[in-house]
């Protein structure tokens, strides 16, 4: 079971790190200074989560690895983040709509994980819930501004929704490991969150006068290391310094 929890914590760490990386790319590129600061804030929350999940995985591995070994010394085929996190940051609408979908998911997922019988996972989740509440307030508000703003903002938001939609389904899939952990009261049955998530997405999009895509397509594979081409490039950049001088303290 320990090995399975290690794997689970690594997956959640990968989700956090990869999304945190994408958010950090906004630094000095945001539409105005206050947004630079807010996006860095959210990025920091995700990097912080990655450190906690990896730190726990490292502890469970008991083979001398630390959080950085998980972040910097694994290749993209070993990364198990859901694909939605690795998509390039796109324009500001794409970034905020991705946040909306993920924030809504996390606002359902984290309270369940906070009830995990695994105390460490529960504690990480409890801390993250508060952050996600703030993230969701932001992404909800921005969705309204886009949808009820100008023609251009509405078009950009709608395009982002259409581009992202097929990557949302994967959030609700469970493989054998996740099913087993959910049954054991350690992990979360994310499949059970889908109906509520859809209702909440639908309510916000309606409020913003945006359309929920009818077209059903779904790209999947992140948990098995079957990634888009974007992840390899992201990791090349992220791991470059660490790997150029292996085995050192920084």
């Amino acid at each position: 079971m320990k090995a399975k929890i290690l794997e689970y914590s690594t997956r959640l760490g990968d989700d956090s790190l990869v999304l945190g990386h994408r958010l950090s790319e906004w630094c000095s590129n945001a539409p105005f200074l206050e947004e630079d600061l807010a996006l860095i804030n959210v990025a920091l929350d995700y990097i912080g989560r990655a450190r906690m999940f990896y730190g726990y995985a490292a502890e469970l591995s008991a083979d001398g690895r630390n959080e950085d070994d998980f972040a910097f010394m694994r290749d993209q085929r070993e990364f198990s983040n859901l694909l939605i996190h690795e998509l390039p940051k796109g324009d500001f609408a794409f970034t905020m709509l991705r946040q909306l979908f993920i924030d809504l998911f996390n606002s359902l997922f984290l309270p369940r994980l906070a009830e995990s019988s695994d105390k460490t996972l529960a504690a990480i989740a409890a801390k993250a819930i508060k952050e996600t509440r703030y993230h969701l307030r932001r992404s909800h508000e921005w969705t309204l501004r886009f949808g009820l703003g100008t023609d251009e903002s509405r078009e950009r938001a709608q395009r982002a929704i259409d581009q992202l939609w097929g990557y949302t389904h994967e959030m609700f899939d469970l493989d054998a490991l996740e099913s087993e952990l959910a049954e054991a009261g350690i992990g979360v049955d994310s499949g059970a969150l889908k109906t509520e998530w859809e209702q909440q997405v639908s309510a916000i999009l309606t409020e913003a006068e945006l359309e929920q895509p009818g077209e059903q397509w779904a790209v999947k594979g992140g948990r098995e290391g079957y990634h888009t081409e974007n992840l390899g490039q992201l990791l090349n950049e992220m791991q470059s310094v660490h790997r150029a001088y292996p085995g050192l303290e920084w």
């Binding site: 000095s28 200074l33 950049e237 920084w250």
Partner: protein, 311 residues
């Protein structure tokens, strides 16, 4: 009448009272402040670029988080200083326009490229270190909002400086490769850091009036000496070679002597020949332009909400 006002203003300055936004102030004082505080704000904002350039490549998660938080602080300082400047009757849009057209300046140090990871440490240690020496002095500046801003900013900056120095220390005590990175970063950033204090007092265009109005409290050369004095033992402690072979302790003066700064380089970079002058401004202009539709959406949405409320 205006003589009375001016006399009262000068009396206040003389008596070390702070000038506040609603107080009468001479035009020149106001313009001088706008120039200086907005330049300071722009420096914080443009300074996000060279360090931001390393966030995605930081070699450990802890360093990544520390760097993100630092760059966020710098942006926060920019915001705070823009607000302080706005108390003098200029809008943020006007200031951004002045920055983007080259009418307003920012610290020339940010026109140097941050080439290696060690540069992140050197910038924190030396660039923030030089900035603090200047800012500590500015805590006593005569304009209230600026002085109060400096108190707050100094606290965070000294935290950054310690973090930068600690990063350098880890490199300097690390592998040969890491030590070489640290030495190289020191060599490239030491002299430009000295230049941050501006030209010699005799050459400085703004010093005299600024000192009289107590906007500036210590001269460029005094502040630079302070920085040279505090930095020499720090370099020594790192076990790195001092980039200035003439830097020696002078018992008689109670200060370190130093070699002459390459002023040709100083003016060269100021005049647009640095590695990054164009890049920094183009980056700022691009981000601002790409954000135009976002700002427009926000305004339209707010207006729509207000209208709905009124109806």
């Amino acid at each position: 009448m205006s003589e009375d006002l001016e006399a009262k203003f000068l009396r206040k300055i003389e008596g070390e009272e702070k000038i506040e936004p609603k107080d009468w102030m001479p035009d020149g004082y106001c313009k001088n402040l706008i120039r200086q505080i907005s330049q300071h704000a722009h420096s914080e904002v443009i300074g996000m670029q060279p360090e931001g350039n390393w966030i995605t490549r930081a070699p450990s998660l802890r360093r990544k988080a520390v760097l993100l938080a630092k760059v966020q602080d710098e942006g926060g300082h920019g915001l705070y200083l823009y607000s302080a400047t706005e108390t003098l009757g200029i809008s943020r849009d006007e200031m951004i326009h002045a920055l983007q057209t080259g009418e307003a300046k920012y610290a020339s140090i940010f026109n140097y490229p941050a080439q290696t990871w060690a540069d992140v440490g050197a910038i924190g240690w030396l660039v923030d270190g030089a900035a603090i020496v200047n800012q500590v002095s500015l805590q006593r500046t005569s304009y209230g909002p600026y002085a109060r801003g400096m108190v707050r900013i100094c606290k965070e900056e000294s935290f950054h400086q310690r973090q930068g120095y600690e990063l350098m220390l880890v490199l300097a005590r690390g592998s040969d490769d890491q030590k070489a990175l640290a030495q190289d970063a020191l060599n490239r950033f030491y002299w430009p850091s000295l230049m941050m204090f501006g030209p010699h007092d005799a050459e400085s265009a703004h010093t005299a009036k600024s000192m009289q109005w107590k906007i500036k409290r210590q001269s460029n050369d005094e502040l630079r000496q302070k920085f040279i004095d505090q930095t020499a033992p720090q370099i020594d402690f790192l076990g790195l070679d001092h980039p200035d072979p003439e830097c020696k302790w002078n018992e008689e003066r109670g200060h370190y002597d130093n070699g002459e700064i390459d002023w040709d380089e100083f003016y060269d970079v100021i005049n647009g020949n640095g590695h990054c002058n164009r890049q920094r401004i183009e980056h700022h202009v691009r981000a601002h332009r790409e954000g135009e539709w976002v700002r427009a959406a926000m305004q339209t949405y707010e207006a729509r909400k207000k209208k709905a409320k009124a109806a």
